[in-house]
């Protein structure tokens, strides 16, 4: 881009510019226009971003190391806190990786419940993102509609897991408890309402002049750059790459689900927004289909080396109490080996590289957070652009401190 003109001799009196100089500005770590505790070190030339350097670590908790000190099951609460907006997807992703390492095939019903939970939380995650984009561009009403819809999911998730946010749901080998009575009907009713609310958000934002002006053509990343940076999820698909693990390497029962993977064209903020709106509708479709097809049967494998014995057995028989004791005190024994497994989380490929030394504790847990490469690509999207473009860009990449900083 052209150097801003500094030489005021050339300017007429009426057009006299103020003398400017490069400024170093910290955006964040606590700033109303950044959702997430991240600090952007920015060098500004007027309102143009010359250099942007995202600095992470404010939410670093030592997730990977903490996992090495607890049993496999006890890792689950730590995974809640990765992408805390869609905890179920982290829970299930981790469990699926561990089950792959242990060679455990979980029951059908558990697979369906995992799909339902994951898609509900995808809806929740996208609603949060879409609402926040609106909010930070000045559209407060859209945010309220989105959050109202999100609350409905939180209520359903609370009924299912007992927690609004930190679900710790699912266990190695399946699900720790079945769906509550009448829950499916409630979910269907909620989905109806959510559908209305999403439509409302769509109407408020998609053709809104201000919204379109600020998002279309801003935060652009090319398809090649996105691939090079390692983008996955909506940010990659907005560039026109149809890559979705639910289609590419279907897990659980995604191969039986009828849904489309929307893709964008321009790789800009507007496409990323539109893509999420469309994914909201696709996820709704998946949840409806999964609820309709939900088979009867057990929700966890019948193997006392993996699943805790039922409580009457624990209190009444020595076999049960031993099984319970060994699993709780020493952890589920996962065969030695290593595995990489990934699921499609709301922001992209949530990958787990897990090593077991054959004991009840992980030897190593590494998580490939989808937000990390995307945040790394942020400077490429905004350098040379206006400061104001930073805000929608930072919104639509939907960086979640919990998973990026672990």
């Amino acid at each position: 881009m052209a150097e801003p003109r500094m030489d005021d001799e050339l300017e007429g009196e009426l057009e006299g510019h103020l003398k400017s100089k490069r400024m170093l500005v910290n955006l964040g770590p606590s700033h109303p226009a950044t959702h997430g505790t991240v600090r952007m070190n920015m060098e500004l030339e007027g309102e143009t971003i010359i250099r942007a350097d995202p600095e992470i670590g404010f939410l670093h908790r030592g997730f990977q190391k903490s996992c090495e000190n607890v049993t496999w099951t006890q890792c689950l609460p730590y995974t809640d806190r990765l992408n805390y907006v869609s905890a179920l997807m982290n829970n299930f992703g981790f469990l699926t990786a561990v089950e792959k390492l242990a060679g455990i095939e979980i029951p059908e019903r558990a697979k369906y419940i995992r799909v339902i939970g994951a898609e509900l939380h995808r809806i929740q995650d996208h609603l949060t993102c879409v609402g926040a984009v609106g909010l930070e561009l000045g559209g407060f009403s859209a945010f309220l509609y989105a959050i109202e819809a999100r609350e409905l999911i939180m209520d359903r998730v609370t009924e299912l897991t007992g927690a609004r946010l930190t679900t710790s749901f699912g266990r190695i080998g399946g699900i720790n408890r079945d769906l509550p009575d009448g829950w499916s009907e409630k979910v269907l009713k909620s989905l109806d309402k959510i559908h209305e609310l999403v439509t409302e958000v769509d109407i408020l934002l998609t053709k809104n002049r201000i919204f379109v002006d600020r998002t279309r053509g801003t935060g652009v990343i090319s398809r090649e750059d996105a691939l090079d940076f390692g983008f996955t999820g909506p940010c990659l698909r907005a560039c026109g790459v149809s890559y979705d693990l639910r289609k590419q390497s279907p897990y659980w029962v995604y191969d039986r689900m009828n849904f489309e993977v929307p893709i964008g064209q321009n790789g800009d903020n507007y496409d990323r927004y539109l893509l999420r709106i469309e994914e909201l509708r696709q996820s709704e479709k998946i949840v409806r289909q999964a609820l309709a097809e939900l088979p009867a049967g057990p929700v966890i494998v019948d193997d006392w080396r993996v699943a805790l014995p039922p409580k009457p057995e624990v209190y009444g028989t020595i076999e049960g109490v031993i099984g319970h004791f060994k699993m709780v005190m020493e952890g589920i024994q996962i065969p030695a080996g290593e595995v990489y497994d990934a699921t499609e989380a709301s922001n992209g490929e949530l990958g787990w590289y897990i090593v077991s030394d054959g004991g009840g504790h992980p030897y190593k847990v590494h998580v490939r957070a989808p937000g990390f490469p995307i945040l790394a690509g942020l400077p490429r999207m905004i350098e040379g652009r206006m400061l104001a473009d930073m805000v929608p860009t930072f919104d639509t990449i939907n960086m979640i401190g919990g998973e990026v900083e672990q």
Partner: protein, 611 residues
């Protein structure tokens, strides 16, 4: 030493040649299998003169060895090797309850049943002799079925006790249930009830319901302790372990039965209900109960020792430990001196270590080189403590002889326990000689104090081979008594300057046992309160005296001074450290229930302890 193994020869057992350590179990009768040592086995190379019936044995593949195949893996072992050991060499773990490498074979638990090529039925691995070319299968479905069935039978009448059982966490029933059974109970009706708290003796209590009748304890008392105090009584569901009527399990080796009990049936009355096994960490250490210096694990949590367990040591104690030594850990916990003090009686006041050292030196300094200053050392201190302290005595205090204190002589036996109750007398003798000091017997000290010859005394360790009260009243007559002590007591009260000392469990170092075997021990936890090991006090005293000698660790003491003592000079202090890795036998869980290393809560003991 040489009379060690005939401790019960009055009861008719033939004395075997003593070796200074517990003997192997006697060779089994021929019909109980292959437990006899290699020397009792005919060499495999020579085909025995066979009756015409069986075909000739194949020539051994590896001369002098027996070659067998375990789960498809070939392994060549010495003739007479137990099949369980041979399988272990091939990487196959055969589960067992009743078998113990140091006891005769009973083959009654049936847990080790395996398939072998030369038998149509499953055979107990512990009892079946290895034959050339035998193929052993330990993982087939038949074997797994049998293991599962055995576990089901063993658990059939087992009470639902894990929550209240001391053995939980180190129980073979729990381990093998998860490995080989993991099925729900199929019991209909009620379990057989037996006596849940049968007191067998002063130190052991038996829960007969938990017992799986492996008879390890009976065999241990017969064969190793050679005091047959336990037996099996009743039949079928009424079978139980018990003492003979009118007697009790009062052997000095009775607590070994608790160790070898694979389940929670035999319980240590001292340890019972005091700690959960998975919260304890184990530090490889040395028993200080007598001069035998048995290798032990000291199980601790926080800054408290809960129990000693024997640690495998072929040279000294094999797998055993005497009850007296095992219970000798208590001085590490109880009535400890945790802060130094200055003054005696009503004048006594607490002092910081720096103050106390300064005061000690101020008082000692004028007496340096005078006849009235005596030094007393206790052979309870480690070699490092003694090296530093005796060097201070010689070079700064300018004494040429030291009085040897230490615990009073007790009773010894012909097995492990010695009459000398001090763990390091040998080390003291070596070090005194190496540093050019002569040792004087303790008997001379009291008359010297009373006669006014000794006016001031610096004592490393408060243990005295006489009544502590009597010694303390004699010590009241001293003009200066500087004492380094672990424990409160009359002697500690008699000191003018009391320097709080840390016992061996709180620092690392070495002991030399009665046979001159040097052993390293590891520190379990940091010293309590403001106490410090003796070597550290010696280092501080050097500093107070203006000497340049300083030590920052016991390792440094040993490396700086061991070269002056010929017996210590060749000892590789670092290489000889016992491993803190898990050992065969009963080990606590590697980590605590909440994921932290056990014993971690109160302060940050590093996860990998030791050097």
């Amino acid at each position: 030493m040489s009379a060690n193994d005939d401790k019960k020869n009055t009861e008719g057992a033939a004395p075997t040649p003593g070796s200074g350590a517990p003997s192997n179990p006697p060779p089994s009768p021929p019909n109980t299998g292959p437990r006899a040592g290699p020397e009792h086995q005919p060499p495999a190379a020579k085909p025995p003169a066979t009756p015409p019936g069986p075909p000739p044995k194949p020539a051994p593949k590896h001369p002098g060895l027996v070659t067998v195949t375990v789960d498809g893996k070939e392994v060549a072992v010495k003739p007479g090797t137990n099949m369980i050991d041979a399988a272990k060499e091939a990487g196959a773990d055969i589960p067992y309850y009743c078998w113990h490498p140091r006891l005769s074979v009973a083959a009654n638990c049936r847990m080790c049943l395996v398939q072998v090529s030369n038998s149509p039925k499953l055979v107990p691995a512990c009892q079946t002799p290895l034959t050339e070319g035998q193929a052993i299968t330990t993982t087939s479905e038949t074997v797994k079925d049998s293991q599962r069935a055995v576990m089901e039978f063993l658990l059939l009448n087992h009470p639902v006790d894990c929550a209240i059982c001391d053995q939980a966490g180190e129980c073979k029933l729990q381990d093998y249930y998860m490995q080989h059974d993991h099925q729900p109970s199929r019991l209909e009706g009620v379990k057989v009830m037996k006596n849940k708290r049968k007191v067998l003796g002063p130190r052991v209590v038996l829960d007969q319901e938990r017992c799986i009748m492996c008879t390890r304890c009976v065999r241990f008392m017969d064969e190793v302790a050679k005091e047959p105090q336990l037996g099996m009584f009743g039949r079928g569901s009424h079978e139980r372990i018990d003492v003979f009527p009118g007697t009790e399990l009062d052997s000095n080796y009775s607590l070994n039965t608790v160790d070898i009990c694979p389940v929670g049936a035999l319980l240590n009355r001292d340890f019972r209900f005091r700690a959960r096994a998975w919260f304890l960490s184990a530090a490889p250490s040395v028993c200080t109960g007598c001069s035998r210096g048995c290798s032990i694990y000291a199980d601790f949590h926080g800054q408290e020792t809960y129990r000693y367990r024997p640690r495998e040591n072929e040279e000294i104690n094999k797998s055993w430990l005497c009850d007296q030594g095992r219970l000798s850990y208590k001085y590490l916990d109880k009535e400890r001196v945790v802060s130094s003090s200055i003054g005696r009686g009503t004048d006594a006041r607490e002092a910081t270590p720096a103050e106390a050292v300064k005061q000690a030196w101020v008082k000692l300094a004028p007496l340096v080189g005078t006849k009235g200053l005596a030094v007393m050392v206790s052979p309870v201190a480690s070699n490092e403590d003694l090296l530093a302290s005796l060097r201070f005595a010689k070079e700064v205090l300018k004494v040429s002889e030291v009085f040897v204190a230490g615990r009073p002589e007790g009773k010894g036996d012909n097995f492990l326990m010695t009459a000398d109750k001090n763990p390091n007398r040998k080390g003291l003798e070596w070090i005194a000689q190496g540093l050019g000091l002569s040792l004087k017997p303790f008997d001379g000290l009291i008359p010297a104090i009373e006669g006014g010859k000794v006016k001031a005394l610096w004592a490393v360790g408060a243990e005295v081979p006489m009544d502590a009260g009597v010694f303390a009243s004699a010590a009241q007559g001293l003009e200066l008594f500087v004492l380094q002590a672990f424990n409160e007591g009359p002697v500690a009260q008699a000191a003018h300057v009391l320097l709080a000392s840390a016992p061996h469990i709180e620092d690392e170092g070495t002991f030399a046992n009665v046979d001159g075997i040097l052993q390293r021990f590891r520190a379990a936890y940091p010293a309590r309160g403001e106490s410090r090991p003796h070597w550290k006090w010696a280092s501080d005293l050097f500093e107070a005296a203006g000497d340049t000698t300083r030590f920052v660790s016991s390792r440094e003491v040993f490396q700086a001074l061991a070269s002056r003592v010929p017996e210590l000079a060749s000892f590789d202090w670092d290489a000889q450290a016992p491993s803190s890795q898990r050992r065969p036998g009963i080990n606590p869980l590697p980590t605590g229930a909440d994921g932290r290393p056990p014993g971690y809560r109160e302060f940050g003991a590093p996860r990998v302890r030791g050097i």
